[in-house]
Symmetry: C2
Subunit: 335 residues, 2 copies
């Protein structure tokens, strides 16, 4: 393996100069840089990240902690983050918790990340106080995506508002019995969105004078299967809701399925709206409140990289806009 030393010998210069030339630092004459680059190429020089990391304390690697890569939403954020990291020459270390508490424990509790990454991106997880403490002690930039964590750098949408938009859309269509399918407001993969969305739903309903009814609120675990189960329950009782607001498109898709199973037509018999604008949403004709998923990944990555370079940077809370996308699963209430 040819090292910086071989190149130095080849161009008859010190390794220090070669290192500087290779990294594009200033204070190297153009002629020298040219000779170094040429020699490096000719000798097939490949830098050693381990050696650079050991010497500089920087790894040019960012950890991304994700609840489940198999969920389109998370994968899209990862993709966004990867793009900007790659552009800037950073590598992405993926930690997929996949609903596994021990995986979560391993990533947060052991100081696994300490000397391994320059920054951390946490997706849609609400770290516990203890976990936050460990993240803080990493002494590295951390950005949290999709959760509201005051004092931390975050990138998210206004979940309360998004839920409000969805609920209001149904109200505007004349619906009054509006069910809500959400998710546990705490647990292994908890984040702050579920509670904010639930609150947005309740608030908006209350403004109409209609008090939220507990029997209209169900847990769909933010999965298609969960949404299916929840909607089955909601729709099979007597006095069923005329509309369902699911806090995620996947749950909404489950709800569509439940309606179909029960012989209910959408939107004639029941309207359904979700949040996300999932890649499959348009194929289900799903009305939804779209959020810029991919973009959240890009912004978060940009943010940690800025923290890494800017001398005095301080945590920022970015809130990205959402937009109501009306398709064909919501319609005027039939009287």
């Amino acid at each position: 393996m040819t090292s910086i030393k071989d190149v130095a010998r080849d161009v008859e210069m010190s390794t220090a100069t070669v290192s500087r030339a290779l990294r594009g630092l200033q204070g190297v004459s153009e002629e020298t840089r040219g000779r170094v680059m040429e020699s490096a190429r000719r000798l097939g020089y490949v830098p050693s990240p381990s050696a650079a990391g050991l010497a500089s304390g920087l790894t040019r690697t960012v950890a991304v902690i994700v609840p489940r890569v198999t969920q389109w939403f998370f994968a899209a954020i990862v993709q966004g983050a990867e793009e900007v990291l790659r552009e800037r020459g950073y590598d992405l270390l993926l930690y997929n918790l996949a609903g596994d508490a021990s995986a979560r424990h391993r990533v947060f509790e052991t100081n696994l990340l300490t000397k391994r990454v320059d920054a951390v991106l946490v997706l849609s997880l609400k770290p516990s106080p203890d976990e936050l403490d460990r993240l803080l002690r990493l002494g590295r930039p951390v950005t949290i995506i999709g959760a509201d964590m005051p004092g931390w750098a975050t990138v998210r949408i206004d979940d309360h508002e998004a839920a409000s938009t969805a609920t209001q859309h149904l109200l505007d269509l004349g619906h009054r019995r509006i069910a809500y399918i959400g998710g546990a407001t705490e647990g292994v993969l908890d984040f702050t969105a579920p509670s904010a969305r639930l609150a947005g739903y309740r608030c908006t309903l209350e403004r109409t004078g209609a008090p939220p009814a507990p029997e209209l609120e169900a847990d769909g675990a933010f999965t298609v299967a969960g949404g299916l189960r929840a909607a089955r329950e909601l729709l099979s009782g007597t006095d069923r809701p005329t509309a369902i607001f699911a806090a995620s498109d996947e749950m909404a898709i489950g709800a569509l399925r439940a309606a179909q199973e029960l012989g209910l037509r959408v939107p004639e018999d029941v309207s359904v709206i979700g949040i996300d604008d999932h890649e499959m949403a348009s194929y289900f004709d799903l009305t939804t409140v779209a959020q810029p998923v991919h973009e959240q990944g890009r912004v978060a990555a940009t943010q940690v990289l800025a923290a890494l370079t800017d001398d005095h940077w301080h945590p920022e809370q970015v809130i990205l806009p959402t937009e109501l996308v009306v398709r064909r699963t919501t319609a005027q209430l039939r009287t």
Copy 2:
């Protein structure tokens, strides 16, 4: 930052012994190991992967090169691989090409990976001869998933057979005008599955005496949108096919959509079958040839780790079984 040296000083032993104790090597008395562990914990010792990597030449990191994480199929494989890597204490470096030729170039051409990872997993990509050459010169275990590359360690399904199963299912239902939606057999994100599946389709048709008709073969680019476009075309002509076999579930979902747009009922007017058993397949009632996606990731990861530890290991070609899953998008031909 406390290092191995601090622990050595604390327990009054050499760094070599501490290193051995920490790594669980044999040749360390139980008493010593205990004291070292206790001291390490007490001092808040965190190992430095860079230092270990530099000294040992091993990074305990595996690169996973994926066409697009946002596609469920790839994400599921990544998840499978991540599980076994994590169990064994390896980290996963994600390289997402996302249809970007320059990203592909960057990963393969520059020797980015050389001193960075211990092994490489390549998903559903057919490396060019030049790329294969570079992979080979990494001198590291490489496993290719979803492509048929003789001489290399691979994990995949029998694509020819899977396509045959799907086609035969349609034939068994009485269909004769069976269209095929596949994907380019070369390009930036090419792999060997498209051609094998096309061949399986053609072969099976030929056995019935029906020569494959070029006008029944379309390109759906392995995406929902592509499948939609292709099926629109196929279904709007005169003498339209009575069944469509899409080489992936996503394209099949697009085909379902096209049928719906054109006012055709599935399966009464047209049968549709896919390959994969995508997580959304059951919600579309899609008949498909299921493949063990997650498992392919696990097997591939297990394979490279074995290559890393076994003294004399040689590349193996693992073929995982597929299974016809009949749902409600295929039915007997109506005469």
